[in-house]
Every structure is written in C-alpha cells, then in structure tokens.
Symmetry: C2
Subunit: 195 residues, 2 copies
DNA sequence: ACGTCAAGATACATCAATGCATCTTAATAA
DNA sequence: TTATTAAGATGCATTGATGTATCTTGACGT
C-alpha cells in the first residue's frame, strides 16, 4: 500500500486524474465521480477543493501548462526550428482538443465561468514560443521583420490548431512540412519590393 | 390563434426552434424541453420524431444546410469573389460555432453518434463553393493551377473557421481583407519559377 | 357531419450527477 | 504518545433532463 496522500501531493494527483479524464472523455464526459474513482478516492475529497467541474478542469489545465512548457532551442536555422515547434506541439494535440471541448461547452453557458486569462493563454497557445523563434530568425537576417505583420506571424499556430480541432488528432509530419515550406516560408521570405 | 400544425410544417418548425436553441445556448445547453417550449409544444411531440438531442441537433443542422446554400456569383475578379465568399461565410459564424459545440461534445462519447457524412460535410464547410470560385480564376488565367496544391487551396477556409472557433464571432472586414491580400493572393499569384 | 390520427397537455417514474452530512481512520505535529 | 486535522467511505435528498403512458382535442379525409 502507498498510504494516504495529503495536501499538495494529493491535490496534484487529483489534478492529474482530472486531466486524464478530460483528455479521455472530453469535458462533457468529465464527472466528479469519474475523477474521484480514477484518483482512488471519493467525491467529498474533490468537493472540498473545487465547487464544480469547470473549476476542477481549469485547475487541471493550469497544472498541465505549468508542468510542460514549450521550448524550442536555437538551432541557427528557422526552418529547423519551425518544424521542431510543430512537432513539439503535435505531442499535445489530444490535450488541446480536450481543452477546447471545455470552451465550447462553457461559452454559451449563463455562467461563463472560464477565466479570461486562461482563455487567452490557451488560445494564444505557445504564441510566445513561436514569436521568440521568429525574432531570432529576424536577427539572423533569415527573414524580414516587415513580413511578420499580424495575420502572418501567427499563421503556423492557426494551421496547427485548426487541424487539431477539426480532426482531434495531431497533424502528420508531411503536412507540417507542407505548412512550413509551401505556406509560411514563402510568405515571410517573399521579396517585398512593391511600392 | 394560428391553429394546430401538422406533419411537415410542424417538423420544419420544430427544427427551426432546435436550430435557434442550438445557436443561442450551444449543444450543451440544448434540451428537448427547451426546444419544445420554444416551438410552443411539448416534449412527447419531439420524442416521437427523434430519439435524443444528438439526432435532433443533426436534423436541425441538415435543415439549415439545405435552406441556405452558399453561392458566390462570377464577378470576373478573383479578389472580389474571395471577399464576397468570406463575407457570406461570416454571416453564418454563430451557427458554425454552435455546430462545432456538438462535435466537441460528441467526439469523446462512447456513442459517437455523429454521422460521418455530416461531419465531413460540415468540416469541409463550403469547400466546393470556394473550389468552384478558384477554378474559375484558373480558367481566367488569374492564378496558376499548380499554386492550388492541397494545403494552400483550403487556406482561406481554414483561416475563417479557426477565427470563428477561437472567438465565436465573425472576423471583421479588415481581417478578411488581410487574409486575402497578405496571405492567400501572394501565395497563389506567386511566381513559381524555381527548379 | 363523422371518424381517424396525430398534436398537445399532463403526470409519473427513472437516471445520472451532485450537494451535503456523518463517521471512521490515517498522517502529522506537539 | 496523544491530539488534531484531513482523507476517505457511506448514505440520502435533490436537481435536471428524459422516457413513457394516458387523455383530450383539433385537423383532415371521406
């Protein structure tokens, strides 16, 4: 036996269980009872910490975001780093899809309980990581700052997120490469000499 | 009083009510009772026609798709038609978002009751309209067939859908123009002379 | 005008999830 | 060791939505 868990240890375990349930069953299939069972405990233990499943799910998501943060090292080459970025993001596809089921369920609700900061943090989704990566490329002289104007700078994130939401699965390697080589790089490398 | 509705009339009215409820409350907020009330009738009337809310929602969506089909006339200019396409799509943003709440709710469910054909039809989302529009532009010689290879051809639809799913609102005109002028047209008009 | 059938109203049981109270027991601090 | 606190188990009432049976009544065909 592993004995009885307490305090922070227990809380982390509960949030892990909640996250697993969320990714396996989606937000609509998430229940306090299900989480309690998976965590090997009972509902009152959950009820003492979170008021409803929205709070629980949000806390679980926060824990996941804190646990793995996206990081792409400087490889000296933009294309390499972009592909790495997309590959890394792909490993989180299921989670991203699951998280989105929460937003779609809660959005229309009277009690739109989703905190705005979490919402934007998730919809941005590793925006900073991508941005940092692009800024490095600008400094290297690989691309022009002016080609990274608003709708273009986040394009890869958009393509990725869209694919995940439509298919609930990560984009295959060939598709990621096509995004980079046939869409993104042509746009940011394109000569911009017109008046 | 308007008297008692029957048969096909009644059914159409029920599906209208269901659609309204779906767009106002989302799939998670959709209830048989809510639809019955809005339609000015009672639950048994609904129960005689559809077994659960998934069936009802799907039927309601089908009716909407049949009612307004997207059509963009030949304007002789690709850019004009693309903007018109996006503008037309924007009027349906709320509905698209609502429909997607159904998929996110049902996807993880054991009874993944969403018919595959409807799913693909919706995820494609006016793909044929856009395709027809692009083919006309190719025939006019405005763009090159070879520049419409897979990840590029559906790009505008992707951008649009992503925006709707992220914000649950239609993209403003300025953004739609940016998509067309700064992303899509540069890609499809781009000279492709490299080896 | 009459008969048939479905619309619409009403009532009741059910089911899943939850809120909450209670009780036992293990872990930790003193 | 002992007191305290929270973990974990259990039971019960409640709530929201649904399934379903029954009954009345309006619409339509003949």
């Amino acid at each position: 036996m592993k004995g009885r868990r307490r305090g922070a240890d227990l809380e982390a375990a509960l949030l892990e269980a909640a996250w697993t349930e969320l990714t396996e069953r989606g937000y609509s299939g998430l229940t306090m009872e299900g989480v309690a069972n998976r965590a090997g405990t009972s509902r009152p233990v959950l009820a003492r910490r979170w008021n409803d499943k929205a709070e629980l799910a949000i806390a679980a998501i926060r824990q996941q975001m804190a646990k793995h943060l996206m990081a792409v090292a400087d490889r000296g080459d933009l294309r390499t780093e972009l592909l790495e970025y997309l590959e890394l993001a792909s490993t989180r596809a299921k989670g991203i899809a699951a998280v989105f089921t929460l937003f779609s369920s809660e959005y229309f609700q009277d009690t739109s309980s989703t905190p705005q900061d979490l919402r934007t943090a998730l919809l941005a989704g590793g925006k900073e990581t991508l941005r940092a990566l692009l800024d490095r490329a600008v400094e290297r002289g690989e691309i022009l700052e002016q080609n990274l104007a608003p709708p273009v700078d986040t394009l890869l994130g958009v393509l990725f997120r869209h694919h995940v939401l439509m298919t609930f699965s990560p984009p295959p390697e060939a598709l990621r490469t096509a995004w980079v080589d046939r869409i993104f790089l042509p746009l940011v490398k394109g000569h911009k000499e017109e008046s």
